[in-house]
């Protein structure tokens, strides 16, 4: 099962959580790829002994760059589906399994796991998520609950439809950009609820980045 799915985990300085994440994921998935963004801590040492593919970037290309590298690897190795999850442990492996099963069942092109219980998020993230939800449905006329979710899976053949360009300070927006491009190009998108594991230890955007993302969503709508 899941032989044509590659699970990609972009990682940067995740020595605290990465072993735990890989312990769970490697039990359920045969093909796991970790893309390390030149971590300065012991991330690489922690994951060396796992049965995974490991790509090490010589310089930090950000989340967007890691996702691009993962996609290129998936295409070279001819994987039909590419799943992403975060390395900080905020996504559960059971939710990953759910989205993988769903893509087989529904024959979708992109499945996004959305955080169903916003009450578990801190106030700042809750407000930010709601604002993004409302803005997205207003601008794109489609109701998606979590466009920035890092837990997702897509068919590698839709690369040209979802191609993302976020780099530099925008590297964190790759997930949102993929979602916006997929909607704009009429990809078959589904979403399923996942657990929201929220804690201050999980990385996320700050207010300034959130506001910038709002502007970028409008920009992508108009100019892409």
């Amino acid at each position: 099962m899941f032989d044509d799915i590659l699970v990609a985990i972009p990682a940067y300085n995740e020595q605290k959580n990465i072993s735990e994440v890989l312990n769970e994921v490697c039990k359920k998935f045969k093909y796991v790829l970790v893309v390390d963004n030149n971590s300065e801590d012991q991330t690489i040492k922690k994951i060396e002994n796992f049965p995974i593919f490991l790509i090490k970037h010589k310089y930090n290309l950000g989340k967007s760059g890691s996702m691009k590298t993962a996609l290129q690897f998936a295409k070279i190795r001819k994987f039909k589906y590419l799943a992403f999850m975060d390395a900080d442990g905020q996504h559960k492996t059971n939710d990953l399994i759910k989205i993988c099963k769903k893509i087989y069942d529904e024959n979708s092109e992109l499945i996004i796991g959305y955080r169903k219980n916003l009450i578990d998020l801190n106030l700042k993230k809750r407000i930010g998520t709601i604002i993004l939800q409302r803005l997205f449905s207003l601008v794109y006329k489609k109701k998606l609950f979590d466009i920035q979710s890092g837990l997702r899976i897509f068919d590698t053949s839709i690369e040209s439809k979802i191609n993302w360009h976020s780099t530099g300070i925008n590297h964190y927006f790759a997930d949102a950009e993929i979602t916006c491009n997929a909607v704009k190009n009429n990809c078959k998108i589904d979403q399923i609820p996942i657990e929201a594991l929220s804690s201050e230890k999980y990385k996320g955007m700050n207010i300034v980045q959130g506001l910038y993302l709002v502007l970028m969503i409008l920009y992508w709508r108009v100019f892409r």
């Binding site: 490991l54 790509i55 090490k56 970037h57 010589k58 290309l61 290129q72 070279i76």
Partner: protein
């Protein structure tokens, strides 16, 4: 700026012609800064033009244009660097897989 130009010439970041060109430019700027009234009176008497006002406006326009082109260049270089790093990392792992 004369010193920086000299350093960059020694580092071979500027060729001889560029070096001489920039030395002339900086020298002219130094002379105009030391004797602005000379430059101003020359242009006011002969051409009835406030040359420093025109230069100020042109400087602002030049700065904006330079900023724009620098931004474009940086974006191009960033893309090239990202592509190179990604390709190198992929090459490494594919070779490892091949060896196995």
């Amino acid at each position: 700026m004369l010193y920086i130009t000299q350093v960059n010439y020694k580092k071979r970041l500027l060729n001889k012609i560029s070096y001489l060109f920039w030395i002339c430019i900086w020298t002219l700027i130094i002379l105009a800064s030391l004797r602005p009234e000379f430059v101003d009176s020359y242009f006011t008497e002969n051409y009835d033009v406030d040359v420093f006002y025109i230069l100020s406006v042109l400087s602002i326009i030049s700065l904006v244009i330079l900023y724009f082109f620098s931004l474009i260049k940086i974006n191009i270089l960033e893309k090239k660097i990202n592509a190179l790093i990604s390709a190198e990392s992929l090459k490494e792992i594919l070779e490892k897989i091949k060896d196995k």
